[in-house]
């Protein structure tokens, strides 16, 4: 018997939503305890700030340029390498339960395997997972959760907020008490909601395994990604009227707009409603209309969803304990990317490489039997390091196609093994609007360069000092005193940037 691996992901969760990371709104004692007993990473970044490229990095251990999922809607080829396949070939039992999203959800032609299993009443195998049981943010779509809900509780299908509108754009419809976009009163009972369903199905799969089996289980919660529609019975946990505005929100409008104006021009253009450069934000919503109360309500609903996830994880860990596995189980917790959630007056996500989207909750609780000391790692790590870590835990050689390294267990280890930088890419081309960013985070700086595109001429960039400007309000890209720093960071970025796969894979859907 070896070490088992419980890989927990959420969707679009900010770093500061966890108590262990300084969050004060959501109570997250289960994940906080994992952090206290394990390794908490303070500077973990995704290689993309949207779902499909980010999740493809998790499973392949490659940057988007290499695995080719360069924007949402580009399917990860079925032939792409998979850490689940590596582990399965090494004798592990493997499962993914919850939101996969390696292939587009919008699939009326039924061309993608990910969407076929629920339709056919099967559960994989797929991408090295012998068990593939899927869910997403609501009750629609060709996924197992939607089919289960429709079959067992059909009255609940219409209770969720419709993520997409009639034109299949991200819905701008407001709800809740404040009319906040994608806020909604969902009357579904908690036990039918997808968070508890994901935990239930995970426990069921684990319970089906012989006690001596080694296993790798990816438990993937769709929340706290919008819509913010947790079960209404749980919403009373947090009164949005009592919620403080986030530190990243600038209450003075003139000051907020001055800060936005100092960033590359697509920030202000989106804020004003002049340019929605990507699909992941509502086309018919203008960030400048966002009110402080809407931010409070969204953050309260988001926090409720984070609490439900924490409690669901607690149930799964208890089930693992019941099987007697705890000492040999590694638990890794992270999310695919963050959420702007009011920072700079913005919401949702897009081509904005700032901490709201890039700084990840990222925790590794090594198996207690490994006697790995608890630690906090401040050096940069990324999703690209997850797959190699899973191989290392399993005692399997890290395949040469993986581009990351097994995660460091402390800063000394990080220094010794060269964890100097983490790279993040953005590429999108949507109906003539192309946006292309390359970011490196190293030496206390976040440096982003913009390639020529619809709104940028290739000269723009962002440069933030993470120690004296943690809220990233002062863009020092054009600061003459930092010209050498900027030049060195860019040279280092391009020295380490993987070459984009060619030809560029085709976009098959908006998401």
């Amino acid at each position: 018997m070896g070490r088992r691996i419980l890989f927990i992901t959420t969707d679009q969760q900010r770093y500061d939503t966890l108590g262990c990371n300084g969050g004060t709104l959501a109570r997250t004692p289960v994940v906080d305890a994992l952090a206290a007993d394990g390794i908490r990473y303070e500077r973990a970044h995704p290689q993309s700030v949207v779902c499909m490229p980010s999740r493809s990095t998790m499973i392949t251990g490659q940057h988007p340029s290499t695995h080719g999922v360069w924007m949402n809607g580009v399917p990860l080829p079925e032939s792409a390498p998979s850490v689940a396949e590596v582990l399965r070939d090494s004798g592990y039992r493997t499962a993914i339960i919850g939101k996969p999203h390696f292939e587009p959800f919008l699939d009326p032609f039924g061309r993608f395997a990910e969407n076929s299993f629920a339709r056919n009443g099967t559960f994989g195998p797929h991408r090295g997972f012998e068990h593939f049981e899927s869910a997403t943010h609501g009750a629609m779509g060709p996924l197992h959760y939607a089919r289960w809900l429709a079959a067992t509780h059909p009255e609940a299908v219409g209770m969720f907020y419709p993520v997409l509108d009639h034109a299949l754009e991200v819905n701008a419809m407001g709800g809740g008490d404040t009319g906040a976009p994608q806020a909604h009163v969902n009357t579904i009972p908690r036990e039918w909601y997808h968070t508890d369903w994901v935990a239930d199905r995970t426990i069921s799969w684990l319970d089906s395994l012989p006690v001596d089996d080694d296993w790798f289980c990816w438990m993937s919660f769709p929340d706290p990604h919008h819509p913010w529609d947790p079960p209404a019975g749980e919403v009373g946990r947090i009164n949005w009227r009592d919620v403080d505005l986030p530190a990243g929100y600038i209450e003075d409008r003139a000051e907020r707009e001055r800060v936005l104006d100092a960033k590359p021009r697509h920030y202000r253009a989106w804020y004003d409603g002049r340019l929605v450069s990507n699909y992941e934000a509502p086309l018919n919503w203008v960030p400048a209309t966002l009110t402080p109360d809407q931010i409070r309500e969204i953050n309260a609903l988001n926090a409720v969803e984070c609490e439900l996830i924490d409690e669901a994880i607690g149930r799964v860990l208890a089930a693992i304990a019941t099987r007697g596995w705890t000492d040999d189980v590694d638990v890794v917790f992270t999310t695919d990317h963050g959420e702007l959630q009011g920072d700079f007056g913005l919401m949702f996500k897009g081509p904005y490489h700032v901490d709201g989207l890039m700084r990840l909750p990222f925790i590794w609780r090594p198996a207690p039997s490994s006697t790995t000391p608890a630690a906090v790692v401040t050096k940069p790590v990324g999703h690209v390091d997850l797959a190699p870590t899973f191989c290392a835990i399993a005692g399997v050689e890290v395949p040469s196609w993986m581009e990351g390294k097994p995660l460091p267990v402390n800063d000394t280890d990080a220094d010794a093994r060269g964890f100097e930088r983490v790279l993040t890419e953005w590429d999108s081309e949507l109906f003539g609007v192309g946006v292309h960013l390359r970011t490196s985070t190293r030496d206390g700086w976040v440096c982003t360069t913009y390639l020529p595109g619809f709104a940028h001429d290739g000269s723009e960039g962002e440069l933030y000092n993470m120690s004296d400007d943690p809220l990233q309000r002062v863009n020092r890209w054009d600061d003459p005193s930092l010209a050498a720093v900027r030049s060195d960071l860019l040279a280092d970025l391009w020295d380490h940037q993987p070459t984009m796969v060619s030809p560029l894979p085709i976009v098959h859907a908006p998401v």
Binding site: P142, I506, H508
Partner: protein, 139 residues
């Protein structure tokens, strides 16, 4: 909102051979992955997708001279659609096949366009098979 998507592929077969398949309204499902059946009655074609969705279409143009085929999806969720297949003779026993999609809502242009890209790849594969008769009969 309106969106347009265009995909193209060069096929190493004479335009007439490729048009014989690509311009045959009754055989779209032979080379379009994700379409499992199609029936034609006059200018009405009904396709059935791999997800089990029947979709009625209106055939607008089938021009054997220009080698152009145009059709329109008629489903409630689509306000406007026009699909265009052009087979262009490159005068060297090869041809360029262009498959264009115009659609409102634009999201469906991406979804349909993704299908047309795969369709072109499949058309090329079939047409460039050794000793292929060009009839799409291997499905």
């Amino acid at each position: 909102m309106y969106g347009t998507i265009r995909h193209e592929i060069r096929i190493k077969r004479p335009a007439a051979d490729v048009w014989a398949l690509a311009g045959d309204a009754t055989r779209l499902h032979h080379w379009f992955p994700g379409i499992v059946d199609c029936t034609v009655n006059g200018t009405t074609r009904v396709i059935t997708t791999g997800a089990g969705l029947p979709m009625p279409e209106e055939i607008l143009v089938c021009d054997n001279t220009q080698r152009r085929f145009q059709y329109r999806l008629n489903t409630p969720m689509i306000t406007h659609h026009r699909g265009t297949i052009d087979v262009i003779d490159l005068a060297d026993d090869t041809c360029l096949v262009v498959y264009s999609t115009e659609c409102d809502p634009r999201s469906m242009a991406l979804v349909i366009g993704g299908g047309t890209a795969d369709a072109l790849t499949e058309l090329q594969r079939q047409m460039e098979l050794p000793n292929d008769t060009g009839d799409g009969g291997d499905h």
